[in-house]
Amino acid sequence: MTDRMTDQTVAIEIAPEMWVPATRDGAAAEYIAAPSLTFWQDVRKRLWANKPAMLGLGFIILLVLAAIFGPMLSRHTYFEQDLKLSNVPPLFQTYAVTDSAGATTRFFFNSGNLNLYEVTPSGEVAGLLRPAKKDLIKKQQQFKFGDREVVLDTAKQQLSFADGAALAPGGWQWNMSNLLGTDQLGRDVLARQLYGARISLTVAFVATLVNFFIGVFYGGLAGYLGGKADTIMMRIVEVISTIPLTLYVILIMVVFNSGFLSVVLAIGSVYWVDMARIVRGQILTLKQQDYVAAARTMGASTPRILVRHLLPNSVGPILVTLTMLIPSAIFIESFMSFIGLGVTPPEASWGTLTSEAVETLRAYPYQLFFPAAAISLTMFAFNFLGDGLRDALDPRLRT
């Protein structure tokens, strides 16, 4: 009641010009509509705003570039071995010994294999230092630098001069000849890492592509044919999806023997079921939609209908499935390599690199870091991108 009273008291004087019809422009200016975006513009905007997804995308782009160009730029190859320089770390503490002639030798001690390596002033590893004398009983080695003598106690892992004074380590030095060190066969870890990225990514992309084509073809055919054929084809899919697929990748690898091509084939031929389901589902729904019927009555051919109308509408879910399939493929490949069924040495993939690093885990735990980090970060990147894509395509699902 009070409300109405106050309303009536608002019967204040209003200037006569206010009673003229409003100009449409004025009204339009007053009412600012949100700019209308097309579906894909909207998707791009939402994806762009999703920081983890963009970070993931950025990482993936960098990774692909590194995998393509990295091995070309690298000084080392992935297979060239140097057993004298095996298991060299990427970072070490140098010691310097100057003899009476004024010649200084810099070197570092590799505690994993109890060797001394000479280091150039620029931080390159010049080579293995050979002990002048080895005393196996006292577990001591003697090294001569001109007229000076250094004793390495391999049991205590200590360096001292002949007079017993301990050697003081100099500063930390980054390994300039092998930026990420070398592996147990003296191969450059960086080169192998880059090459491994190339293999892992190629396997993943090609296998995903193979899955994509099989899935689209199978699902498209089932959805397009419909009826009995569809029912039977989907029963088959149901059976396949209950089979533990990793086992089949393994069996196929056993049949074809290890190697790059068999990995691609094995992974590529097995994981297309989701794709087939999505494509079929999309085609079934779209088949019922009016514009497809309209296109048909207007005489459009079947392939034309598929390409022009059906596929563009399925792009979203297919894209999401693909981004999720790539990391699974990377993972399966590395899994296979890890149990000895992947690419064959000296070829490298992140899986073989990890399993090689595991072999030397006790002495050189840091060697696990690079392959493990590479594969984990890549998984993160694809996961973030996939999640982001899904959210961008279907904002209703955003949680």
């Binding site: 409300d3 019967a11 006569p16 010009e17 003229v20 009204a27």
Partner: protein, 338 residues
Amino acid sequence: MSTPLLSVSNLSTSFFTSRGEVKAVRGVSFELRAGEILGIVGESGSGKSITCMSLMGLLRSSGRVIDGSALFEGRDLLTLDEDELSALRGNDISMIFQDPMTSLNPTLTVGEQVIETILRHRKVTRAAARARAIELFELVRIPSAAKRLRSYPHEFSGGMRQRVMIAIALACDPKLLIADEPTTALDVTIQRQILALLKELQGRLGMAVILITHDLGVIAETADRVLVMYGGMVMEEGPVRELFARPSHPYTRGLLASIPDLRDDTHHRLTPIPGSPPDMLRPPKGCPFAPRCAHAMAQCNAALPPLYDAGPVHRARCWLHHPQAPRVAGITAELVPA
């Protein structure tokens, strides 16, 4: 004048989203007497549901009542805590939703969904609650009631599910029933049955009803009084006959004009007035209907019109009712100047 059952004044509700504050309801006031049927009508997004959800304390997490009061039997619903509110919900005030296909839990029997409501609010045994549930099913005319209690929602048709929803709503003899578009999702023939049932039960049980709908035809047949909402506000308010006879707001006139013939039952759906409702993230500072209004004046864009008396119990929020405003036939022509 007897005190009303529910008296809402200046209710304002906003959603605080990542894009900003969505002002869904902006200062809604109305009264409801016991046993009265109030229709709320308006286009999609006009704030009808949010008004009722605010009263029930059922807003989703980003929504908040920011102003107003809602006295129900002397208690302000908006200040009750969750425990007090939940004791009231389903008991004194109950609600039916638009889509019977999704508003029942698919994994519980319909009987359980009725019985749990009774057990929540009444101190009775399970057997007594069951007996009451059967009684309710018979009341809403679900055949072979005792047997159907054990069925799951998916074994019912849409119309039958809505009857189950009504049974749940009536389980504890509510004083107020809020029906949010109870028939929108149903076939035309089923719609009429459900509406007839609602009206009959209302007459029998004497509760007050708030009936939200898009359909002015439904309002004409069922309601005593109408609230026309637009842009989160009440645009016009009055008794059904009065409002249909003398629509005093351009928006209401637009709504009515979009129905070819009220007696022709087939076309009660609103055919939209050209243009679309305002974006409630940035509501216009003047009349929210101005961009779509054929009579819009400079004043309409400049300031929000107040609610003017358009009759003794009839009000409309439009500058045309200002004493100095030009007269427009059909809206203010019959109006006696103040």
